[in-house]
């Protein structure tokens, strides 16, 4: 186990380093930079721009800039935002909670609904429900998340006026109920894709387990069918799903970015878009690194949880 962990962590460090190189190269090799913002100031001269570039360290060779950034990042100094000079980690931290709230709540919804759809599809294989679920999952994977959000707003906010069309809370209200009402729409919109994926894998996983000897044994020794289904089949079918959950993280993050835009949700996605518009390299790099870390931690947790929950799996 510890050998596995060590090996994995080493692998992840290499990956993160690669991620940082790719991210840095993408940002810095592209034309147009943070200086463009300062040319908009009236009376800005070329000499002054030079001074700014020098003070920001932008006039040094790229490898030097990268090394400077990398060296500081390794000791936890992720630089300061070009926009408001706040430390990058602080800026990310300030926008993290709304995104996490959105991702967590939609994951819970997606796992519950997806499991239900998958289980029902498996035990009633080739039924009308199963076909509709199959087709529905494919269509759900084809709908652009932001457009689904717009449709949601149109139906539930414009037509029915049941839900607010965006934002984290109503200014001046901010009660728990108000928060919850604002969360419903973005949470469901973000959950759609995950429900589709989760239900497909859950169905496949159920069909594998249903043919196992221990299910037959349970049935043969007279365990009631419902107990066989809940305790023997579904429980075991959920095990491999842990891995799927870990692998869904990048998709969930991408979806969160788009969903946040539609629902004017003040999370990391919005921060990322704003920072890109401003050419705020330190924040953009910070978010890229942070999300890559989140993705890798998700992978690692999935592997470990899978091993812990299933004694047949030995990690080494």
């Amino acid at each position: 186990m510890s050998r596995f962990l060590f090996h994995r962590l080493a692998q992840y460090l290499v990956l993160l380093w690669l991620v940082s190189v790719i991210g840095f190269a993408v940002l810095h090799l592209a034309p147009g930079g943070p200086l463009a913002q300062f040319t908009l100031i009236p009376g800005m001269t070329a000499e002054q721009l030079q001074v700014i570039a020098h003070q920001m360290g932008l006039d040094r060779p790229l490898p030097v800039q990268y090394w400077e950034w990398f060296r500081r990042m390794m000791v936890g100094e992720w630089g300061r935002s070009y926009r408001d000079s706040q430390p990058v980690l602080y800026v990310i931290g300030a926008h993290l909670w709304p995104t996490l709230e959105l991702m967590l709540s939609s994951s819970v919804v997606a796992v519950l609904l997806g499991t239900w759809v998958g289980v029902l599809g498996a035990i009633r294989r080739y039924s009308v429900f199963d076909y509709l679920a199959t087709i529905g999952a494919m269509v759900a994977l084809s709908i652009p998340t932001f457009w689904f959000g717009l449709v949601f707003i149109y139906i539930f906010s414009v037509k029915l006026a049941w839900l607010p069309p965006g934002n984290l809370y109503t200014i001046g209200d901010g009660s728990f109920l108000d928060y919850a009402r604002h969360l419903i729409a973005p949470c469901l919109v973000l959950a759609l894709v995950t429900i589709a994926i989760w239900s497909r894998y859950m169905r496949a996983s159920m069909l594998e387990v249903v043919n196992q000897d221990y299910v037959r044994t349970a049935r043969a020794k007279g365990v009631p069918e419902r107990a066989v289904l809940v305790h023997h089949t579904i429980r075991n079918a959920l095990l491999p799903m842990i891995t799927i959950a870990g692998l869904q993280l990048p998709t969930l993050l991408s979806g969160a970015l788009v969903t946040e835009t539609v629902f004017t949700w003040p999370g990391m996605g919005r921060l990322f878009l704003d920072s890109i518009g401003y050419r705020d390299y330190p924040v953009v790099m910070g978010i890229l690194m942070f999300s890559a870390m989140l993705v890798l931690i998700g992978n690692l947790l999935a592997d470990l949880l899978y091993a812990v929950s299933d004694p047949r799996i030995r990690l080494d």
């Binding site: 991620v19 084809s142 149109y154 249903v210």
Partner: protein, 296 residues
């Protein structure tokens, strides 16, 4: 019949022949539906603008926000500048579908190249290439797409390249796995013993045997590319007006959601239709070409 006895019946008689056939038929029908949707959309967008009386760029401020079906020939209504929506949707479709196909072609080529080289040579080269693939996959795709798109001059070509740059990794993985296993097969070893060059073995012997999963992956990649174009254009970093695309038509549609909802509903509907079409066809091809890949 309860749920539980139903499950028993399914297990006890796995070969419900009629149901299986039905399943295949429905699957097949979905693929056909997908193909029909794609053909109709392509024909509509390619030929439609020649036949339709309205030009997609003609502004008519006296007929702004005409509702669909209520304003004479403007069957899909008009937008905030009085431009005909159907004409715009068709021209936008040309752009979106072209970007989708072109990005698919480029990303598939890159994926094949990387995957083949990595799978064939293995060792250091293979590890390095596949680690690079892993690293790119660590970025949530929209984040990478936006980071790239925001920093290039947005043109049709550059946006296509950017989308391709975020969509080649899956193909590379599929091809690498295929080539790595095919490489040890007798026919490959025989070819090597006969003195064939590396390039000959890679591209003439091995690659043709890996074509099925590539076809499936690239079909699904068209769907993905159309979706990515929509995302990046909706967020304002993709195809720039006045060139319309299904994505950028949605860009400011949210403002008019209350007064002119069709501006937001119609382009998204077409995106969904096109993407669903390619996904259905890809799924059907997967069933037809390689049943082992089926997860459901």
């Amino acid at each position: 019949m309860t749920e539980a006895t139903d499950i028993a019946a399914t297990v006890a008689r796995p070969s419900r022949a009629r149901s299986r056939a039905l399943a295949r038929f429905v699957r097949h029908r979905l693929a056909l539906f997908g193909l029909a949707a794609i053909v109709v959309l392509v024909l509509l967008c390619a030929a439609g603008p020649y036949l339709w009386p309205y030009n997609d760029l003609r502004i008519n401020m006296r007929q702004r926000f005409a509702e669909p079906l209520l304003a004479g020939l403007h069957v899909f209504g008009t937008d905030e500048l009085g431009r005909d929506m159907l004409a715009r949707l068709m021209m936008a479709g040309r752009v979106s579908l072209t970007v989708g196909f072109a990005a698919m072609a480029i990303s598939t080529l890159v994926g094949i190249l990387v995957g083949t080289l990595a799978g064939y040579f293995g060792g250091m080269i293979g590890t390095a290439l596949m680690r690079f693939v892993d690293a790119v996959l660590c970025f949530p795709s929209i984040f990478l797409l936006l980071a790239l798109a925001a920093f290039v001059q947005p043109t049709l070509l550059s946006i296509t390249l950017v989308i391709a740059a975020t969509a080649w990794m899956e193909v590379a993985r599929v091809v690498e796995a295929q080539i790595r296993s095919l490489r040890e097969r007798d026919f490959a070893l025989a070819s090597e013993a006969l003195g064939a060059s590396d390039a000959h073995i890679m591209f003439r012997e091995l690659l043709p045997n890996a074509i099925a999963p590539i076809v499936v992956a690239s079909t699904l990649n068209v769907a993905r590319a159309i979706l990515l174009e929509a995302y990046v254009s909706y967020l304002g970093y993709g195809i720039q007006p006045p060139v319309p695309s299904w994505g950028n038509m949605l860009n400011n549609a949210q403002e008019y959601l209350v007064t002119a909802p069709w501006l937001a509903l119609l382009p998204g509907l077409l995106i969904t239709l096109a993407v669903t079409g390619f996904n259905f066809v890809g799924d059907g091809l997967r069933d037809a070409l390689d049943p082992r890949l089926d997860i459901s």
